[in-house]
């Protein structure tokens, strides 16, 4: 968990010196050196110079990232392609595919039959956005949403594609989005982690693809910036609960004794790290009540549960995680990352996609509404999307009422809401087959640059020197998509 949680607002001149350490110093003093400089920071790590990083006025204080792991089918949900009905079952023209590479799962397939969506689409809201019948609740809030139909990525398989989305690089070794934000901005809440991760599994029959700790890891950033997974089984945060038989009063006695003893040690050792350690033990004690308090949904009204749907009462579901996300946002947690698994519809898409949408439609829409009602949507940016889209052709046989779709990186759809993003907008366009972007392409790096911009961070300035290079979330790419901004 990030040091910034415990950070007293540092004076500007301190930031300057930290900046010199972290940002540009050719001498490259690392985090270890700094730990002893920041007696109250609790830890070595810290934000770089905010004056350089956060030179833009932030439009969002926090991000809630609803990650649909597996690659939701844009062509069955948002990117309406009625005209391909007449090509149904015909081979996708080579001119459309343009020699682009396919995954090993369909590259050997004899034909790539064009596969129109089985689902009905309609225009919704004042903005008239297209949404398929699978997402009736989302359809009701389209005027709050900004759809990017022109997302694209080079990655065509899960591991590299998710890793690219979340770390800016297909191969492991880079910090995750949330850890960059923790490092760059930190959190205003002193009792909760800066970067919280909530996991859920979908209802689709297909096995859910795996996740990896690196998706919320900190890589070469100081490790206190890694995401903290809040779990629905057992301890909500690893090791949070006292051991059986140890009640809070006994623990309090222990911590009092420990603090006394450590203060004596500090007098002997003159080590600011000891004061920091005492503070961390106190913070740990406070977390033991603040985290369960956060996770305890008893105080939520029945109408709230109704809004998020019946599953919101079942811990560990996406619906329950959405409700938690709102509670985390209320507590000013900076980066709230949900992963919902099971969106990998290679086969049996009509059945399984319906189940997946059933998991997320109502709660995601409720989350946006709920944030808006509570005045939180203005400074909370909600992101919905996966690591890539799905092919316009069927993987395997195209049946009368069944088909599958392979991974597709050439185009996919995400939606954004709140946080200074223009509502009721559909950005970008794909070709008649829904295969290539033909207008306003938005690369993963562009999306990330834009999200950071809304947090008040210039993406080219949020850097960390590692192995001689100033790394950043957007690598050497990324353009802010200004037309999405209010």
């Amino acid at each position: 968990m990030s040091s910034c949680d415990q950070r007293h607002p540092p004076p500007a001149d301190l930031l300057l010196s930290r900046r010199q350490f972290f940002g540009r110093s050719a001498l490259g003093i690392g985090s270890v050196a700094l730990s002893s400089l920041l007696p109250h920071a609790g830890s070595a790590a810290g934000a770089p110079d905010l004056s350089a990083v956060a030179r833009i006025a932030p439009r969002a204080r926090r991000i809630i990232y609803l990650f649909m792991h597996g690659g939701p089918s844009q062509i069955d949900l948002f990117d309406h392609k009625p005209d391909i009905a007449r090509f149904r079952g015909q081979d996708l023209p080579d001119s459309v595919r343009g020699g682009q590479r396919l995954t090993g799962m369909t590259s050997g397939q004899k034909t790539l039959p064009v596969t129109p969506s089985l689902f009905r689409f309609a225009r919704h809201g004042q903005c008239g956005a297209w949404v398929s019948e699978l997402l009736p609740h989302t359809a009701k809030i389209v005027d709050e949403l900004c759809f990017i139909r022109s997302m694209h990525t080079e990655a065509i398989n899960h591991d590299p594609a998710v890793t690219l989305m979340q770390t800016g690089h297909q191969q492991p070794g880079r910090p995750s989005f949330g850890s960059w934000v923790s490092y760059g901005i930190g959190s205003a809440n002193r009792e909760l982690p800066c970067f919280v991760v909530l996991l859920s599994r979908g209802s689709a029959a297909r096995p859910a693809d795996p996740l990896y700790a690196r998706l919320w890891g900190s890589a070469f950033l100081p490790s206190d910036h890694q995401g903290v997974s809040f779990r629905s089984d057992g301890d909500p945060v690893l090791f949070l609960s006292n051991p059986p038989g140890v009640r809070a009063d006994a623990r309090r006695d222990q911590l009092d004794a420990l603090a006394e003893l450590n203060q004596q040690q500090q007098a002997r050792q003159l080590d600011p790290e000891i004061e920091a350690r005492i503070a961390q033990y106190e913070l740990a004690y406070r977390m033991q009540s603040s985290v369960p308090g956060l996770l305890d949904l008893k105080g939520e009204s029945p109408s709230t549960f109704d809004a998020y749907g019946p599953e919101s009462r079942i811990p560990g579901t996406f619906a329950s995680n959405c409700l938690l996300a709102r509670r985390l946002a209320e507590r000013d947690v900076r980066f709230i990352q949900l992963y919902h698994r099971g969106w990998d519809q290679h086969q049996n898409l009509p059945g399984d996609l319906r189940l997946q949408c059933g998991d997320i439609d109502q709660p995601a829409a409720a989350l946006v509404w709920d944030l808006k009602q509570r005045g939180l949507l203005d400074d909370t940016l909600v992101v919905w999307g996966g690591e890539f889209g799905r092919t316009t052709y069927s993987q395997g046989r195209l049946e009368a009422d069944n088909y599958g779709r392979d991974h597709h990186g050439r185009c996919f759809t995400v939606w954004l809401a709140g946080g200074g993003i223009r509502p009721g907008v559909t950005h970008g366009e794909t070709d008649a087959f829904g295969y290539n972007v033909v207008r306003d392409p938005v690369h993963v790096h562009d999306l990330n640059a834009t999200l950071l911009h809304q947090l008040g961070v210039e993406h080219t300035r949020l850097t960390y020197r590692f192995q001689g290079r100033d790394f950043r979330l957007t690598d050497v790419h990324g353009n802010i998509v200004r037309s999405l901004l209010t």
Binding site: L27, P172, Q269, E273, A284
Partner: protein, 1033 residues
């Protein structure tokens, strides 16, 4: 204080050498590298204006504009200097956000005025032969290291600190060299040793201890990105722990670092390589691999080679070679072409990019001597049993023929009246008859089955049988069918409405069967041991006798009853459901992926003999189609087994059983033989090309293996292979390898390298705090024959290392990060040391070295939350696996051990040479609440309580066990107060005490008074959490 600290540290650096003159390496090259090289540096493709600052000729010649950037001796004619302050068109350009400080500008000017002298980047020059400098205080230094450190301190006007007190020093050096605290005996012996060389003797003892190799291995495993899983996507398990054990042994026998290098990089290419030398090459197989279907093989194969090169570059050369993968290096003199020349050395393996098996080949099987003899014993047992079986079958040749005839005439099936049957044949030509049962819901597909064809299900389909079938609690019934599962977790069948009825599914290898009436209370539930294998046919029969008892429901796989665990045996209702009997879906809606064949539903329960005959009648259909004299040995074998199992004599039965036991033993033994990933070159060698933009599918011109021009060249005529490269890395005059290596060992002892950027000695890396010392150590290391233990001995016996780590206020302010080393180093213990210390102090530590990874306790649910479909569970070891040193804990890359992760360990996905050190509340929680920590505290408490004595003396012992010293009066008072409070609490609530005492598996202390043990456990825990205990000072 923070601000002050920052400034003073910067000043400390600036104080390297004399301030009067400008030094190119110290002052100018870093400015050029940081501000200029990215556009005017080594990378030709992006070089602007034809101007480069990384070489003197390039900086002095006229740029495209005709202007001269640098005119030696004439700052005012030097365009580069003028542009620094040019408001209209400044350099560096505004958008870079980079700017030279006035001080840097002044240095730049002074350097040009002095003639703009250039020098090769410091780390690319051979280490200088420095003599230790003269110092004023001749009494303090104990070896040459101290002269270098002291000379600098004297220049700064600082004095070294007092020596650390002996107990603190022994604790420090014990952790640094063995990763463990000194035992009470070791400490007492050391304190009592009044010989002048007592400390040297202690150091020698530590260096000779087998725990030395374990401690050294941890850092090497981080660097080598060792793990017990493959890393990408499914993150399957892999075996490469034999390599890990090789590393421990190599450190323990003090293998010279040059040989250590050569064997790991090219042990397989040595003449007549030993088994050990081949195991050593696992170093280059530690990279992650993927098994994600759909991945393009060559793309990932190239990534693996790049990973090897990156790791080798960081670890041996301190170079960021990866920066030259897509273009020439922006800062260091390494071209993209040279990158691919180095790449070519590693681009030789036979391994693939997309990997199917858990242990991706090439793999070495390494049976232990005991396994070797057990294997040959089992093999000879199998041969003997086989011979005996054949002998006993000889007189029965006629009966066997008759039996075969009867099989043909009677045909396959249960030979009983059935209520329903589906042969899963594609006779309907795709046309379903929706009004008749059984009927298929969803698209129909068939593949070859056990009898004729089988029905292929891939999720959407299921096969419906009539709801009228009497599958209920008060009737006997039998359901039998063949399954060939294609996914790890599947729904098999259901006959259910709401919660009522029958449900069968297969999860993590186990079958789960439930027959419910209404609520979860009124039900019968069974779970089998692991049965059914993916992608293999199994015959499954559920035979129920209508008694509503768990004992009345038997499960058969392949004609044999299988053991089950009864989860619930409380069925009283009829469990009758109006739902159809559906195959291919479970009650919860889980689907079936795979093949299904020959489904029968019978209105009766069956005997074991009936089920066996049924199984064989179907099992042998395929073999019966082959004429007897055309059958291969496997087919003959199956026929014989069928014969013996169904109609054989008791003697034949016995022989068959012996044969099967021997075969099972053989298979089990084979699976237990350790394997390890190794390097192996393909033949002929793969050609290497420069890859445009680093992309696997963009090959440009071919290249031969080679090394960068700026470094020493390869010996002429040497074969261009890994062995030559490895030998080149450790040639005595290599400017990088020795410096980089001694710097890492310095980091191990001081918590910081002389060069802080331990993996980057290039242009963008930091400068050494003590360059002359670094060079001296590098030469010393090579001259000693790359003797690691000798170098460590020199470091830890220096007066520098032995200083007290307590600063003065002045030193803390002037040098908060202790770069000058006017005091001893102090830092929090590493993740492994923290856990190992608790185990060692409590006495729980099992000091066994090496072997397969172990699984100590961790909170449940961690693997399920990330693994494919949640199918993997972490099963903690019972017994000694819980108390081994942390470096043996199973390392899963997508979910590393949480108690280790909490303390800054890497994920082991990429090469890591230095761990950060943070201080977080999650660490406090882990130390206070992790099961192993609580268990260790109890065991420590128990061992103290089992001593005779007053509480005060027990406290003394407890405190000393953890800290190495007795408590002060006030410390004792604090702990006594804590103890009294807890004694009172637990006396009032003995049930709480019992709960606390019950944590963990160790039996220690269960003979003691519960309240006392619990109270002392909390005191022990408090002591184990002291800063003094978790920090090495």
């Amino acid at each position: 204080m923070c601000l002050l600290g920052g400034l003073v540290t910067a000043a400390a650096f600036a104080a390297t050498g004399s301030r009067e003159s400008v030094d190119f390496i110290r002052d100018i090259r870093p400015i050029l590298s940081e501000h200029c090289f990215s556009c005017h540096g080594p990378d030709e493709a992006t070089r602007e204006s034809g101007l480069r600052f990384d070489q003197r000729e390039g900086a002095l010649q006229a740029a495209k504009s005709g202007l001269h950037a640098i005119v030696p001796g004439h700052p005012d004619q030097s365009e580069a200097l003028l542009r620094l302050t040019d408001e209209l068109d400044p350099m560096p350009p505004v958008e870079t956000g980079k700017r030279l400080t006035p001080a840097q500008q002044a240095q730049f000017r002074a350097w040009i005025a002095a003639g703009a002298p250039y020098e090769q980047h410091w780390s690319l020059q051979a280490p200088a032969a420095n003599d230790p400098p003269a110092v004023r205080d001749r009494t303090w230094p104990t070896n040459p290291i101290d002269a270098f450190i002291l000379s600098r301190l004297e220049a700064e006007g600082l004095a070294p600190a007092q020596p650390a007190d002996p107990a603190t020093l022994l604790r420090r050096v014990s952790f640094d060299l063995t990763g463990l605290p000194p035992s009470p005996t070791e400490l007492a012996a050391f304190l009592a040793d009044s010989r002048p060389d007592a400390y040297q003797r202690a150091v020698d003892r530590l260096l000779a201890s087998p725990t030395f190799g374990e401690r050294m291995a941890v850092d090497w495993l981080d660097a080598a990105r060792y793990a017990d899983s493959n890393g990408f996507f499914r993150d399957n398990t892999r075996q490469i722990w034999l390599w890990r054990d090789w590393v421990i042994a190599a450190f323990n026998r003090n293998q010279p670092f040059d040989a250590f290098t050569i064997e790991q990089i090219a042990g397989d290419l040595l003449p007549h390589p030993t088994l050990e030398q081949r195991i050593a090459t696992g170093f280059n197989r530690n990279h992650m691999v993927t098994g994600e279907t759909g991945v393009i093989d060559e793309e990932y194969r190239v990534e693996y080679v790049a990973d090897r090169l990156e790791t080798t570059g960081n670890l041996w050369l301190g170079l960021t070679l990866g920066c030259a993968r897509c273009h020439d290096h922006k800062y260091d003199p390494i071209s993209q072409r040279e990158y691919y020349q180095l790449f070519a050395f590693f681009n030789t393996g036979v391994e693939k990019g997309l990997v199917n098996p858990d242990d991706p080949p090439p793999v070495l099987e390494v049976p232990t001597p005991r396994q070797r003899s057990a294997l040959s014993e089992a093999a000879s047992r199998a041969r003997k049993a086989e011979a005996e079986l054949q002998q006993s079958l000889k007189p029965d040749a006629e009966r066997l023929d008759q039996w075969e005839v009867s099989l043909r005439t009677e045909g396959p099936g249960p030979r009983r009246e059935s209520s329903a049957h589906d042969a899963a044949e594609a006779t309907l030509d795709g046309a379903e008859e929706p009004t008749r049962y059984p009927r298929l819901v969803g698209p129909r597909r068939h593949e070859g089955g056990v009898v004729g064809q089988a029905l292929a299900l891939d999720g959407p389909q299921h096969l419906e049988f009539s709801p009228d079938l009497p599958i209920r609690a008060d009737r006997p019934w039998t359901i039998g069918f063949w399954l060939n599962p294609g996914a790890p977790s599947i729904g098999i069948l259901r006959k259910r409405t709401q919660d009522r009825g029958l449900d069968v599914h297969w999860s993590r290898g186990r079958l789960e069967v439930s027959l419910r009436h209404s609520s979860s209370q009124d039900a019968l539930r069974l779970r089998s041991a692991a049965v059914l294998k993916r992608a293999e046919w199994s015959h499954l029969v559920l035979a129920y006798d209508g008694t509503s008892r768990a004992a009345g429901l038997r499960l058969f796989v392949d004609g044999r009853v299988i053991p089950v665990e009864v989860l619930q045996d409380a069925l009283s209702g009829t469990a009758e459901s109006a739902g159809s009997l559906d195959f291919g879906v479970s009650g919860k809606g889980e689907r079936f992926y795979g093949l299904i064949d020959e489904i029968y539903v019978l209105p009766d329960t069956l005997s074991a003999e009936d089920v066996r005959s049924w199984y064989w009648s179907e099992r042998l259909v395929g073999v019966l189609r082959v004429a007897a004299d055309q059958r291969d040995s496997w087919q003959r074998d199956v026929m014989q087994r069928g014969f013996v199992e169904t109609v054989g004599t008791p003697q034949q039965h016995e022989h068959l059983e012996q044969l099967e036991r021997a075969r099972t033993d053989l298979a089990t033994l084979r699976a237990q033989v350790p394997r390890t990933l190794v390097m192996q070159d393909s033949s002929p060698q793969r050609a290497t090309h420069v890859l445009r933009r680093g992309a696997y599918d963009q090959p440009a011109e071919p290249v031969q293996p080679g090394v960068p021009a700026v470094l020493p060249s390869l010996p002429p005529g040497a074969p261009l292979n890994r062995l030559t490269l490895a030998r080149w890395l450790v040639r005595p005059d290599h400017p990088l390898t020795s410096r980089v290596t001694v710097n890492r060992l310095w980091l191990q002892c001081f918590g910081e390298g002389l060069v802080e950027t331990v993996g980057d000695f290039g242009s963008q890396g930091s400068l050494p705090s003590h360059p002359e010392l670094l060079d001296w150590l590098a030469r010393y290391f090579v001259d000693s024959g790359w003797n690691t233990k000798q170098l460590l001995r020199l470091i830890v016996t220096s007066a520098t290392y032995r200083q007290s780590s307590v600063p003065t206020t002045e030193k803390l302010q002037r040098d908060p990060t202790n770069r000058l080393l006017a005091r001893g180093p102090r830092f929090r213990l590493s993740a492994e040391m923290l856990r190992d210390q608790s185990l060692a102090v409590s006495g729980l530590l099992v000091p066994k070295i090496g072997g397969p990874p172990v699984r100590p306790p961790q909170p449940p649910g961690i693997w399920e939350a990330v693994s494919y479909n949640g199918e993997l569970s972490y099963e903690p070891d019972r017994g000694e696996g819980r108390w081994r040193r942390s470096l043996y804990s199973y390392w899963k890359r997508t979910a590393p051990p949480p108690s280790i992760q909490a303390f800054d360990s890497p994920t082991r996905e990429t090469c890591t040479l230095r761990r950060p050190r943070t201080n977080t509340p999650l660490q406090a929680l882990a130390l206070l609440n992790d099961e192993t920590q609580v268990e260790a505290a109890r065991v420590l408490a128990a061992s103290v309580l089992q001593r005779n004595g007053l509480p005060a003396s027990r406290l003394e012992v407890l405190f000393a066990r953890a800290t190495g010293r007795g408590p002060s009066e006030s410390e004792r008072a604090t702990l006594e107060r804590l103890l009294r409070l807890q004694l009172r609490r637990f006396a009032e609530h003995p049930s709480l005490a019992r709960e606390l005492n019950g944590i963990g598996e160790a039996a220690h202390g269960h003979d003691l008074a519960v309240d006392e043990l619990a109270a002392w456990t909390l005191v022990a825990q408090t002591v184990l959490n002291l800063d003094e205990v978790i920090t090495r000072r």
